[in-house]
């Protein structure tokens, strides 16, 4: 199936894999932001996940161990952020930026010696004859297990936020920490848990980058993916199902512009690359215009420190 010289099926399959790291990181950040914490350190958590995941996978020979290590490394970074912003009440914006700087440096230090090494391969899920089905086969049944896991995670996150009591508490904490506190919920504990979860997913996304998508370890290899994850959360107006769309759009636009070039189209690369961000702003404006007098899309207490005054 081709359109204007572009194979849509291949493009779709490519962008699913290409979007997985940012999808994971954005889903994690979504949970943190829903709890009211703006963690700008996604890039730092991702790169630590990429490094730790790679190192452990190479050492043990097991990609699964690698992904676990990536998640743990991301979560540890997030906990550092949590201690600073939740316990010591430092400013979230500045701390997040510092976390990115710290993560980029630390991963480069620990990652020395792993450059140029090849990681063990992460297997594709054997769907047997299913992957032979035209159109659906390559798109749906040709990926490795992390791609499916990330899709399941999005669904679980969506259901968690929408249907569970814990999800409700999480949202309440993000909307009004004072009210949530007054109702007896432990605001700080909820936020720390949300941050750790967000960090784990960012780390997982980083590990996917170094173990599957590239696959190799080099300093600074996330090359801004963490920042894209932040943009996706905004684009998605803090809704899990829209994170999926956002990740595919942001991941897809790069895949698409490269594919257009490969098909021989001369395109204005830079103008096309800024498109997702412009679209995000437009989406934000529309959403805020709709909710002009009602609830805003963003959690009301996003980025605010909470201190339970006696």
């Amino acid at each position: 199936m081709t359109l204007g010289g572009i194979d849509i099926i291949v493009l779709t399959a490519t962008l699913m894999a290409a979007s997985t790291p940012v999808l994971l990181a954005a889903t994690g950040e979504l949970i943190a932001e829903k709890a009211g914490v703006l963690n700008l350190g996604v890039e730092g958590m991702m790169i630590m996940g990429a490094m730790a995941g790679f190192a452990v996978a190479v050492t043990t020979g097991s990609p699964v161990a690698g992904f676990l290590a990536g998640a743990v490394a991301g979560a540890l970074m997030a906990l550092l952020f949590a201690v600073l912003t939740q316990v010591l009440l430092s400013n979230q914006t500045a701390t997040g930026l510092a976390l990115t700087l710290f993560g980029l440096g630390l991963s480069a230090l620990f990652g020395k010696g792993y450059e140029g090494v090849r990681p063990p391969s992460t297997g594709k899920v054997p769907f047997g004859p299913l992957s032979e089905i035209p159109v659906i086969g390559p798109v749906l049944f040709s990926h490795d297990w992390v791609v499916y896991a990330s899709l399941i995670l999005v669904a679980v996150t969506w259901a968690f936020l929408r249907f569970t009591r814990a999800g409700l508490i999480l949202r309440a904490v993000g909307e009004s920490h004072d009210a949530a506190h007054a109702l007896g919920y432990r605001v700080i504990a909820v936020r720390i848990a949300a941050l750790a979860f967000g960090g784990a997913l960012a780390g997982l996304g980083g590990a996917y980058l170094s173990l599957v998508r590239v696959p190799q370890w080099t300093e600074g290899m996330t090359a801004g993916a963490g920042w894209i994850a932040l943009a996706i959360v905004v684009f998605a107006s803090w809704r899990a199902e829209r994170v999926l769309i956002g990740a595919y759009l942001f991941g897809g636009i790069t895949a698409l512009q490269l594919q257009l070039q490969a098909a021989g189209y001369a395109i204005p690369v830079h103008l096309l690359s800024m498109a997702p961000y412009v679209i995000t702003i437009v989406v934000l404006v529309i959403l805020s215009a709709i909710h002009r007098h009602g609830a805003q899309a963003a959690p009301a207490d996003l980025g605010r420190s909470f201190h339970a005054s006696a």
Binding site: T14, R213, G220, A223
Partner: protein, 359 residues
């Protein structure tokens, strides 16, 4: 600009100006600044290999220092000054974007010598050097033209600058020479190093049916993508990338700065350093052709090696007329070869490439 004639006059001047080192016991301090981290396994890594070669060659007679990941711009100027103030007498600035910073600092430190990679501005104490990467592309193009079954060759380009355009043209011309049906597909990644994007670019090209992927970006991500696809061949870029041999990586073009660095430091030590512009190729060892792997048929390998020898011997120039520009206008007449100055500013595709060069 005629770089060669400029070279001879300035070289003579600089030669006269250079004095012999006062004390032989004092080690010669040599500084390096890199645009990326040493661990990038590509551009900066190769320059650092050159630095290590200096240490291995001269031992106690030299003391080298380096600073990595220095952004182009004001930081570079400060770091270069820092290196000069710390007593480095020879400083290698290893990225194009350091050019104006090098010129500024060199004017302030007339007794410090500077070597600037890939630039075009020289002074009494500033020499420039670059490698004729397009020579390596000629060999890659030959192998690619012989081995492609789909007759489609993909090229992951970084930025639309002369060095990259020379490579695309050279690869295309030599692929077409051995296989008139080849078609070249070019993707501009607008980055030297972004593994994820390079992987996407390779995937996009492979989806377009190419079975050869060449890259002018530094990561091994395209190699991994090609391996995944199975029957696609690639070439190592900057470093050998031998981890991917024998398939998909069938050969490579290695930036080997070591011979030049060793020679220039030697010239400093015996007081013969002079400014100038060096554009080294296969003959000087600056462009090294990595081992052609067992995946390449013997006769193709022999053909490629013969081409390499002809280029090294100077009997063959990868750009030999008759050649037309993409728009059909004449560029080189029968048997004509371009001078280095014209080549250094190449900003057009040759005839036959259907893609459009970004403006």
């Amino acid at each position: 600009m005629n770089r060669r004639s400029f070279l001879t006059t300035t070289a003579a001047l600089a030669l006269a100006a250079t004095s012999l080192p006062a004390f032989a016991e004092e080690p010669l301090k040599v500084g390096f600044i890199y645009v990326g981290p040493v661990g990038d396994m590509g551009w900066s890594y190769q320059h650092d290999q050159g630095r290590q070669a200096i240490e291995a060659e001269y031992g106690d007679k030299v003391a080298t220092t380096f600073i990595e990941s220095v952004p182009e711009g004001p930081d570079a100027e400060r770091v270069l000054t820092q290196l000069a103030l710390e007593g480095n007498k020879l400083i290698f600035a290893t990225s194009f974007g350091y050019m104006d910073a090098v010129m500024n600092v060199a004017a302030k430190f007339p007794d410090v010598k500077f070597e600037h990679a890939t630039g075009y501005k020289t002074a009494d104490n500033v020499a420039v050097y670059d490698a004729k990467f397009f020579q390596g592309r000629a060999i890659q193009g030959t192998i690619a033209g012989r081995m492609t079954k789909s007759n489609k060759i993909g090229y992951i380009a970084s930025f639309p600058i002369p060095e990259v355009i020379q490579g695309i043209n050279s690869a295309y011309l030599h692929a077409k020479k051995v296989n008139p049906d080849v078609e070249m597909k070019v993707v501009w990644a607008y980055t030297w190093f972004d593994p994820a994007k390079e992987a996407d670019a390779a995937a996009a090209l492979i989806a377009e049916g190419v079975d050869v992927v060449m890259q002018h970006t530094d990561s091994t991500a395209p190699q991994a993508k090609a391996q995944e696809a199975g029957n696609v061949i690639t070439f190592g870029q900057a470093s050998d990338m031998s981890a991917f041999a024998p398939m998909p990586r069938v050969s490579s073009t290695i930036d080997n700065w070591a011979p030049y660095y060793v020679q220039r430091v030697g010239a400093m030590l015996d007081g013969t350093w002079g400014s100038g512009a060096t554009w080294g190729g296969i003959d000087t060892g600056m462009v090294e052709i990595g081992e052609i792997s067992s995946a390449v048929p013997e006769e193709v390998k022999a053909e490629a090696l013969a081409l390499k020898d002809a280029i090294a011997a100077g009997t063959y120039h990868p750009f030999t007329g008759p050649l037309n520009k993409q728009d059909g206008s004449a560029w080189l007449a029968e048997g004509e070869t371009p001078d280095d100055g014209a080549l250094a500013g190449m900003n057009f595709y040759v005839e036959g490439i259907t893609a459009e060069l970004p403006k």
